[in-house]
Symmetry: D2
Subunit: 291 residues, 4 copies
């Protein structure tokens, strides 16, 4: 089927390729003319036959502006699909605004990273049954072969919600492996840490795709000496913990993984300065002077 | 090759089957005569040609006693392999005691649960190069097909150490999924929680064997209504955190998962009674009277 | 000085008493006629000489509505002080709305609970220097004698912000004592747990007012057998962790204390059901059937 | 009464002064001749009239050796009091060894740091009723004036146990204040962080001696710029969490405070290197190369 695709970066570009290989008619737009099939959004819209379906795949920070720019160019019956990492709570209001113009809206959480082009993308979809049915040819191509990798999670917002939780879980999983790595590295007994991770890839309870990646990383750099212990966080982790707080759901593990990322970006810890100051006050414990 | 196997429960019994199917000559002993190939340990030893290799696969609580009973029956050159869940710190002293009799010792951490019979078992081995080489025919049969599932992790103790860390990581992974499940269940937006988990099995960053099992469980019981939120812990989780403390390794995630298991077994929380008492004292906050 | 006081519950009523004892002219209003000095808000306003100062001391959930009802009754130059537990982020917008009518606004975080009437209240104030100066006679009476117990923390919002952090810290402190209590109760060695807490009230590093309260509670009920381990949370704890997330501040301790309150209100843990389900799947571990 | 005192460092020296001011006959021994009243342990013993009471106040690492050296010099009926930070689990075996020589043993957890000389020391005592009664004149002098600051917590070991829990609680309390400090420092609204802490010293729920110290520290250095966020840990924190694990007591808060100290001493986090490596693998996320 025909699809407009806004945003042809690492994710969008690969998705265009995967869709075209399956015979879909994809017209892409990107601010970078070298990547783009259209000169601007108006040109993109002009190149699509109504009723149009336009998939927006841009960084979360510019999604709202992109949709605001796109909406006036569209006609009733057109459909916008947000495949980016928007916060779920923005989906309902956005769908409401678009519906006043007769434009439909769906949200799709997309997982799979740079590997998705070949493996397929995990898709979590929020929207009406009707819109899901309309887009199934696209979903069927983007998702992995086989019975998994796609879910209609609920109404508008549910796709991004499921993706948010997916990423929150991802934080926790990654940190569990990371703690295990640190302990093995500290151990005097285990002399072959990369081999231990490698062995775990089959037969064990903890085998996973992330573990496969850990093996690749350790094959490359056995003690990860080339890297700094620094990690950004991208919104979904924070939103997951905020949702947990809103819904009174205990979330010790995912929050700990999130906080560890915060810590990784600090040159020094103000909290630990306070600890040092208190120890100095009550016990005359030795402290380290800054600088 | 010929192998003595002590302990023919859920794990040992399946391992005997897998080894025999591959043509190994396994003589098994179990306290349960219905399962056993030998009348007692002495009979088991008598049925094996020297130099013997005897794999002990009994609950961690009786491993020490089993080996103490077995050792005097053996001859110099014989080899004991402990495939149970012993604490790594017991391996070195045990190997030392056996070596005074000329008996060799190896430790093997075995993962895979009831699925190992067909999929193969993840094996983490601690011991000398010589003993590893001697046992490779057995390891090659027990491990999964393919390049993964086996590691010689280091000297005596390293196998159990790696298995301990494996189980610690397992605690963390499971709890990350569990927190995600609880949040999705609490969400007003996501109407198809089992479908979300099912979809994650392919194409996503968080796909794993544990996730596959989560899908199976939710297929069976969409809201896990048949189960109580109660979980035992089996030693390795505690030892992992204790090791982290000994080696000054921060372990927020795995410890949180461990503590959650402790909480799951409490009828009421003494700590939260203290919180309730304090709130009552300073604010006249309503408290709930016990029973 | 003259002060209007809206809300004469546990906190407001005590504050009226403390202010009157010091000679202030307090006109109070409460929905409960038995407590109230005025028939309604209009009557309250009528009983005060302009420029008026009205302190609103109502539950956080009705503060906004109370101020919305009050504002049209006031005159330029009047001043509203919110002493309740509003979220700091509502202060700025509220001050902005009131300023269009020429009405001033301050926020005051008030600590001290039911003990404040006699001990004085800890006051954290947000607002302009001018408004702080105007209200100092009231603050001086409400605060404890001595050099502590009052701070002008910053502009509008800073008072509630400081109170929010105060309460977040309170969550952490309480839970530290609570964990210590639970461990002592579990110990086989310590036979006099109430005595241990009592002893800590002087000479130790951990002496505090909360510890004094813990001693009172244990004097009353040595094992806290009369209480359920159940605790509500009142907003500030959640907001503290949300602010930490917004500002990328690691907050392991206060978040753990918050999550423990969530757990205390659950009959069963959905997360731990998931753990039980997974253990059942991979290991055939015994699970407990619900009810 | 007469008391032998081994170890005249920061704690022991101050205790000698406090005891002498109250009229006790204290004979002190220290390896440093400038501090010592006796040439060696034998000389110390010779200077004391039987039945002797000797208080050992040396670093935990040398307590065992000191007592082993002292015991053969003593006579039946003598009593050793360990006031250092021994692990509670060493007390029982130690008392057993001494009892074969007819020598009594008590353990005393001592809190108060450098402030104890003037304020008195919090004392948590483990031992028999008879030995406690024998030493009460000393305890009465060392403890603070008033009704608090002393407890006979239980049999041998209970004193160190209570002190261990005291220190575990201390870790949690300190970290709660530290997190609050970090959040206030990060806030855009609160412009007077030292003033906020100072105000909390009276009238609030969170007032405490540690808060008083925090005020002193911030008065000295408003943003703690002179200090590094670095903190040692001294055994009791680790033992507290280990005991929690042994007794299946959830301990999210105290363990988090302990782990934060571990982190404070790391130049870079191996765990976060693993996170960075995984993010790089699956998403091509930017990573920071190590130095």
């Amino acid at each position: 089927m025909q699809l407009g695709l806004v945003g042809l970066g690492k994710m969008g570009g690969n998705m265009r390729d995967r869709l075209r290989e399956a015979g879909h008619d994809v017209v892409g737009y990107d601010r970078n003319p070298a990547l783009s099939d259209a000169e601007n959004l108006a040109d993109l819209v002009a190149k699509l036959a109504a009723p149009r379906a336009i998939w927006v795949m841009v960084p979360a920070g510019v999604t709202e502006a992109t949709i605001d720019e796109l909406a006036p160019l569209l006609s009733p019956g057109d459909l916008i699909i947000d495949g980016g990492n928007s916060r779920f709570s923005s989906d309902g209001p956005r769908a409401g605004r678009l519906s006043t113009r007769g434009i439909g809206y769906m949200d799709v959480g997309v997982s799979g990273g740079v590997w998705g082009k070949d493996n397929g993308y995990g898709l979590m979809v929020g929207g009406s049954d009707e819109n899901v049915a309309r887009m199934m040819p696209i979903f069927d191509t983007l998702k992995p072969a086989g019975e998994f990798g796609f879910v209609h999670a609920g109404p508008v917002g549910a796709g991004h919600y499921a993706k948010m939780v997916h990423n929150g879980i991802e934080y926790g999983l990654m940190h569990a492996y990371a703690e295990g790595f640190e302990l093995l590295e500290a151990s005097e007994l285990v002399t072959n840490v990369p081999g231990v991770f490698r062995s775990w890839r089959e037969g064990t309870v903890i085998r996973s795709w992330l573990l496969d990646l850990m093996d690749l990383a350790l094959t490359d750099d056995a003690h990860l000496e080339k890297l700094k212990g620094y990690a950004d966080d991208t919104g979904e982790g924070r939103w997951t913990v905020e949702e947990a707080i809103r819904l009174a759901v205990p979330m010790h593990v995912i929050s700990a993984a999130l906080f560890a990322r915060f810590e990784s970006r600090q040159d020094d810890s103000p909290a630990m300065k306070a600890i040092a100051a208190l120890r100095n006050q009550f016990g005359g414990h030795a402290v380290q002077q800054a600088g």
